[in-house]
């Protein structure tokens, strides 16, 4: 796609909110050299990724930030399935693109260090059987098994001093297309859903699309939360927002911006509409098929840590989540290191934050901890 920059939208403190590009309708695109991913050297692959802009979608751990192309990662990890709520189905995302995906895997093989390329596969899923050039590990169980962080921890845990990269499977396929065809398109097969979405579906679009093109005309900014990403880790983009660079789904949820009376919907109510991982509402006795409308109400106010044993069941790591969070809150750098902060990203704690009785902003705490650690280490 070609065009010209029309305007730059700035917000508070001149922060750039959006760069609007007007397409010139000619569909022109820069072409890149075609290379054989199997034989291409590291420089060629990295050069293509950097020149095309695809490298922006590569993340690194530790610190859960955009990757640094100057550092060779010990391994590259890709999750072969989504488990987040309302996430797009990976078999739809990669439908007809397995050859591209394979080409991308071969190319990544040139970049990864000693530990190679890893794919996390849902057990019983045979769609990756034909893929070679990667270590495949199968996982089963509910969310967050599809999170790449969980898969890294169980397939090849990260230690202090090591660096690894993570990529979304769709970007691996985009990389394959880039190298084998010489053209780059940041394709996104987006899961568009949520209880307020008029017609939930998979939609094919490009990274950075306006959300308004993905919500089937729905427009009620006051009572609806437009989420770019999944309901646990996404951002509140607003009706006029755009699809975030690392996001592959759009969710429309009702805003919970109204008080709930204690006896009818609040803490003393029977709570037959209240979904809870704890068993404090009788809904846990209802069949699993029962559907709930989740709104964005916090269902209580923030409190000190009181309840224990609540994070561990939704945090499949050999890491003590509460103790790690507390060490971050206490600015205890040494403690964070010992408790395994290098391995985690905020998204790994999303379910802990969801389940938290005390409504603690767990993901923000982890983000702050990672930022603090990065600053300390220079």
């Amino acid at each position: 796609m070609s065009g010209s920059v029309k305007s730059i939208v700035r917000g508070e403190k001149r922060k750039i909110l959006a760069v609007l590009i007007e397409a010139d309708q000619q569909g022109g695109a820069e072409s890149f050299p075609v290379v054989d991913p199997k034989t291409a050297d590291r420089t060629a692959v990295l050069g293509a990724m950097l020149n095309s802009g695809l490298f922006a979608f590569v993340q690194q751990r530790p610190f859960a930030i955009g990757a640094d192309p100057a550092i060779q990662p010990r391994s590259i990890h890709i999750s072969g399935f989504n488990s987040a709520p309302l996430a797009p189905d990976m078999s739809v995302v990669l439908d007809g693109r397995m050859a591209d995906f394979q080409a991308g895997i071969h190319a990544l093989g040139q970049l990864a260090g000693t530990h190679g390329v890893h794919i996390g596969v849902r057990s019983g899923d045979d769609s990756f059987d034909g893929i070679d050039g990667a270590v495949k590990t199968s996982f089963e169980g509910p969310h967050p098994t599809g999170n790449v962080g969980v898969q890294i921890h169980h397939a090849a845990p990260l230690s202090k001093g090591e660096t690894l990269w993570t990529m979304h499977a769709e970007d691996v396929a985009n990389l394959g297309t880039l190298l084998t065809q010489g053209s780059y398109q940041p394709i996104r097969v987006v899961g568009a859903g949520g209880s307020e979405h008029p017609s939930p579906q998979h939609m094919r679009t490009l990274a950075g699309s306006a959300l308004s093109t993905l919500v089937a005309g729905h427009s009620d900014a006051e009572n609806t939360r437009y989420i770019s990403g999944d309901p646990l880790t996404g951002t509140d983009a607003g009706a006029a927002g755009y699809l975030g660079s690392l996001h592959h789904q759009v969710c429309l949820l009702p805003e919970g911006n109204h008080p709930k009376f204690l006896l009818t919907d609040g803490w003393l109510s029977p709570g037959l509409k209240m979904f809870s991982l704890s068993r404090s509402y009788p809904t846990w006795l209802m069949p699993k098929s029962k559907e709930f409308t989740m709104d964005t109400n916090s269902n209580g106010e923030e409190r000190a840590f009181v309840v224990t044993g609540q994070y561990e069941p939704v945090f499949p790591f050999d890491i003590y989540p509460v103790q790690l969070i507390k060490s971050i809150m206490a600015n205890d750098i040494d403690g964070m290191e010992k408790l395994g902060i290098y391995e985690v990203a905020p998204e790994d704690f999303a379910l802990c934050e969801y389940a938290c009785t005390s409504k603690i902003a767990v993901q923000k705490v982890v983000r702050d901890g990672l930022d603090m650690l990065k600053k300390e280490l220079g």
């Binding site: 000693t114 230690s159 001093g161 090591e162 939360r225 989420i227 309901p231 646990l232 880790t233 509140d236 969710c251 949820l253 805003e255 919970g256 109204h258 008080p259 009376f261 204690l262 609040g266 803490w267 003393l268 709570g271 209240m274 979904f275 809870s276 991982l277 704890s278 068993r279 404090s280 509402y281 709104d295 964005t296 109400n297 916090s298 269902n299 209580g300 106010e301 409190r303 000190a304 840590f305 009181v306 309840v307 224990t308 044993g309 890491i319 003590y320 509460v322 103790q323 010992k338 408790l339 395994g340 905020p346 999303a350 934050e353 969801y354 938290c356 009785t357 005390s358 993901q363 923000k364």
Partner: protein, 418 residues
């Protein structure tokens, strides 16, 4: 309920900064959030949140305490009428049920009122000073405290104990969630050490001293608790006549028989006597997942193991009591279900909970039998384990840390050789 919320909305400006009543913001805020879960939405991180909050959690704990509270109220009336011979031991259930409840309520309600009044008053004060909203923690502590009190404890003593516990055990550490010692047990321990004479006196049965003075007391009725009676046997040979009399009370048909102890038809602190009522509460706590079944079951196992070991030793009459009988007496069950499981002061790691509970149960029975000066070993044991819990967690976590360090060292070596 829109109307009620509109009223709250209309009076809110008076309590906000600059308003006439801004000093009482904490009071307004806590009452408003008590009635309505605020329309706060998630701004950062997750967009959806679980339905459970601290209010719901604490409410369910109070619900679990209700059987012990109701039975305790009834039993205090029952013990009083029993002590003055108005009813007979043989028919505990049918006679004078309303009199029992009224007599009990007459004594128990003021205790509850004083406990909540003093405790919440201090909580409001500290929340005002610190400018944060009220935590719900004291809603449970405020109910636990009267339940571990003897029936005739003077109200002023309760007030001082509550104030001591809330300020020294909780607020100086930073408030709810930060305390090291269980608040309710600290109140009990404060009374035990500050007023030993009164606490070991005749306050376990309503007006037992007055009844004795008036000659109303039934023959042979001492007014002592089961643990008090047993403590008197320590240091005496098994065949001592006094010991035989005491141990007879624990035989079937005796005052402290297994069935009486389990059902709770014995003198003791208000909420602690009925193992049955407490176990109903335990079932609710385990069923809702709020109370740790790991702590409860390992605590019970610890108590049974210690009592069994004492059986094997059999050095005095106290040691010969069957394990089941040991654990249904005194505050063991109450401590196990409602005190040891306090998530803030218990071990916080899952493996730590097993160790914490087991040692707590073990020590409860050990202290009770070894040191008759502290008949209520459970209180001492749990407070001791509260202090030890961070240490247990430390070692549990250290194992995880060492594992990670080993892996990092190995990875570094591999990098160096590569």
């Amino acid at each position: 309920m829109k109307a009620l919320h509109n009223i709250l909305d209309s009076i809110r400006p008076h309590f906000e900064e600059g308003g006439k009543l801004s000093k009482f913001w904490v009071v307004f805020d806590s009452l408003e959030t008590f009635a309505f879960t605020p329309g706060h939405t998630n701004k950062h991180g997750v967009h959806i949140r679980d339905g459970v909050d601290l209010k719901r959690t604490m409410f369910l704990v109070i619900l679990a305490l209700v059987p012990a509270l109701l039975f305790g109220t009834w039993n205090q009336g029952h013990q009083y009428l029993l002590s003055i011979g108005k009813i007979s031991v043989s028919d505990p259930w049918n006679a004078m049920i309303w009199d029992k409840l009224l007599i009990g309520a007459w004594k128990v309600l003021p205790l509850v009122v004083v406990s909540y009044g003093v405790g919440l008053g201090i909580e409001f004060l500290f929340a005002g000073i610190r400018n944060h909203s009220i935590n719900e923690g004291f809603l449970v502590s405020g109910m636990l405290i009267p339940l571990v009190m003897p029936i005739d404890v003077p109200l002023w003593m309760v007030a001082i104990a509550v104030a001591f516990a809330v300020i020294i055990a909780k607020e100086v550490f930073g408030g709810t969630g930060m305390n090291i010692l269980n608040v309710a047990l600290t109140a009990r321990a404060f009374l035990f050490f500050a007023y030993p004479k009164q606490l070991s006196g005749e306050i376990w049965i309503h007006e037992v001293a007055a009844s004795k003075a008036d000659g109303l007391l039934v023959d042979g009725y001492t007014g002592a608790t089961a643990l008090g009676e047993l403590a008197s046997t320590v240091g005496k040979p098994l065949e001592d006549a006094g010991v035989t009399v005491v141990m007879g009370m624990f035989e079937p048909g005796g005052m402290f028989s297994l069935s009486n102890s389990f059902l709770g038809l014995i003198p003791g602190s208000i909420g602690e006597t009925s193992a049955l009522a407490i176990l109903i509460g335990a079932a609710l706590l385990i069923w809702t997942g709020i109370g740790s079944w790991k702590v409860m079951s390992s605590f019970l196992a610890g108590g049974l193991v210690m009592a069994f070991l004492f059986n094997l030793m059999g050095l005095n009459a106290y040691m010969t009591l069957p394990p089941i009988h040991q654990v249904v007496m005194g505050g063991f069950m109450f401590g196990m279900v409602f005190m040891a499981t306090d998530p803030v002061t218990a071990a916080q790691t899952e493996r730590g909970k097993w160790i914490y509970g087991f040692l707590g149960g073990l020590l409860s029975i050990m202290i009770r039998v070894f040191n008759p000066a502290y008949p209520e070993g459970v209180m001492m044991a749990i407070l001791f384990m509260n202090v030890m819990a961070p240490l247990i967690d430390h070692y549990v976590i250290q194992a995880n840390v060492s594992k990670r360090e080993k892996r990092a060292t190995l990875a570094a070596e591999q990098r160096a050789t590569a």
